[in-house]
């Protein structure tokens, strides 16, 4: 089955530092989605990337989709305490079945 690797598993930063999480797939993806899960919460959709090499920005968050559509990254500039949570990439099989990565847990110290 489809494998989605995500690193790092965990990152602890000081408020104001940047953060990046990386996602790699064993196969070419139809599209990739990113979700955020706050502690004790449920996954919340952030964005979907569809095109090869696509870059999308949401305020301090920058999402990239690799040229080969096998990898993706999420970069947060100048983290804030409200960014705390686990960030998951999710590979879309093309039939909207999502295969989630293991997630990167982000802790931000004030």
């Amino acid at each position: 089955g489809q494998q989605v690797m995500q690193i790092p598993q965990y990152q602890h930063v000081q408020e104001g530092e940047d953060f990046t999480t990386y996602c790699n797939s064993s196969t070419t993806l139809s599209n990739i989605q990113w979700y955020k899960q706050r502690p004790g919460g449920h996954p919340v959709f952030l964005i979907q990337l569809v095109k090869s090499g696509e870059v999308k920005k949401q305020k301090r968050l920058t999402f990239q989709f690799g040229e080969a559509k096998k990898n993706s990254s999420l970069h947060i500039t100048a983290t804030q305490t409200t960014d705390v949570g686990t960030y998951f990439c999710a590979a879309d099989s093309g039939y909207s079945t999502l295969t989630f990565g293991k997630g990167t847990m982000l802790l931000v110290s004030p």
Partner: protein
Amino acid sequence: EPEVTQTPSHQVTQMGQEVILRCVPISNHLYFYWYRQILGQKVEFLVSFYNNEISEKSEIFDDQFSVERPDGSNFTLKIRSTKLEDSAMYFCASRKGTGPIGNNEQFFGPGTRLTVL
């Protein structure tokens, strides 16, 4: 803003018992999903449902699991004979399935925490 709802929020059951987890997807959505998340681990796909039938299921979704849309609003997950390893958070999700191509956002419910003793 419309949201997916799930009941109960927490279910405790004895091993071997049947449980039914309930979800009300967003009303104009066409695709429905169940996922589970064992504590501290990743979200795992169980099953997808469209047009009143299962469209895809994972290896986890064996004969002990079933889904149903008994009416126009509810979407249920039944586990016939629970095992200890079924203890997890179960999330229901729905997707509109119409609109701009590539808009595949899934909306997750708050989850049901299932504890099997």
